[in-house]
């Protein structure tokens, strides 16, 4: 059991930069907006009350850990979620699955006694 925990913790240590990038409300909101498809900085700034410069900084912080990337669409630069999008969903599922593993083991101990 403890070795399993150790492995999980090690994997998490590797992922600390990712968590750090995610640990900000504005950046989470940007990710949420990009989940609907690529957007320009102008569109991403709309209604946030945050300057374009600040949004750009946040996007670069997300880009540094591979969560988003930018591309040209005509004359416009757009930002898009990276395939990490799937990875977030997958990691979330892994985490919930690990909780079910723990719960199932507690159930086993409970009924097999």
């Amino acid at each position: 059991m403890s070795s399993k925990r150790g492995t999980a913790a090690l994997r998490l240590t590797d992922a600390v930069p990712l968590f750090t990038a995610l640990g900000d409300a504005t950046r989470l909101r940007l990710l949420g907006r990009l989940a609907g498809g690529p957007l320009s900085i102008t569109r991403l700034s709309e209604g946030t009350g945050v300057t374009r410069q600040a949004i750009t900084r946040h996007l670069h912080a997300l880009g540094d850990v591979g969560l988003v990337r930018h591309a040209r669409r005509g004359r416009e630069r757009v930002w898009d979620l990276n395939r990490k999008r799937l990875e977030i969903a997958q990691r979330y599922l892994d985490h919930i699955a690990a909780q079910w593993d723990d719960a199932a083991e507690r159930l086993r101990a409970f009924v097999e006694d």
């Binding site: 090690l10 998490l12 995610l22 949420g32 977030i88 969903a89 009924v111």
Partner: protein, 159 residues
């Protein structure tokens, strides 16, 4: 409802989790542990108030260290004695400051079958694709706090 035999972790779905365990206990015993709210609470670690009834909400405070601030709310969907039990809830709803009630729920299903040496239990949780990505990402922010201590502990252990 067809009971699918789960393949060995070959799923690429981001929508569902499926677990199958064989418990060395009679089906009646496992059924009681799942559907008697008091017994469920003992192994799941939640202090549920009331009983599981189809179509009704049941609530209780989590008793897992680090999650004591969380109130669990479950909407029981179906109770098919000794075969099938299902409910809906908000997955990983651990931020006391967030009102999750308007958000989509996931469906949790328990399926029981008698098998050689005991009872085969299949647990399925599905509907994750309807949970907003930002909410899923937030789970790691929440988690990071909880795990920070563990990482420190590990660092002490390996140093």
């Amino acid at each position: 409802m067809a009971v699918k035999t789960p393949a060995q972790s070959d799923t690429v779905s981001t929508d569902r989790i499926e677990k199958r365990v064989v418990l060395r206990a009679p089906r009646t015993r496992v059924w009681r542990a799942l559907t008697n709210a008091g017994e469920f609470g003992t192994w799941f670690r939640v202090k549920l108030e009331g009983a599981f009834t189809e179509g009704s909400w049941i609530r209780g405070r989590m008793a897992i260290p680090g999650y004591e601030h969380v109130t669990l709310e479950m909407l029981v969907e179906r109770i098919d004695p000794e075969r099938y039990f299902s409910y809906r809830w908000h997955p990983y709803a651990v931020d006391a400051a967030v009102d999750y009630s308007a958000e989509p729920t996931t469906l949790v299903e328990f399926k029981l079958e008698e098998t050689e040496g005991g009872t085969a239990l299949t647990i399925v949780e599905s509907g994750f694709d309807r949970i907003p990505l930002a909410r899923r990402a937030e789970a790691f922010r929440m988690n990071d706090n909880g795990w920070a201590g563990q990482i420190k502990h590990l660092a002490r252990y390996v140093e």
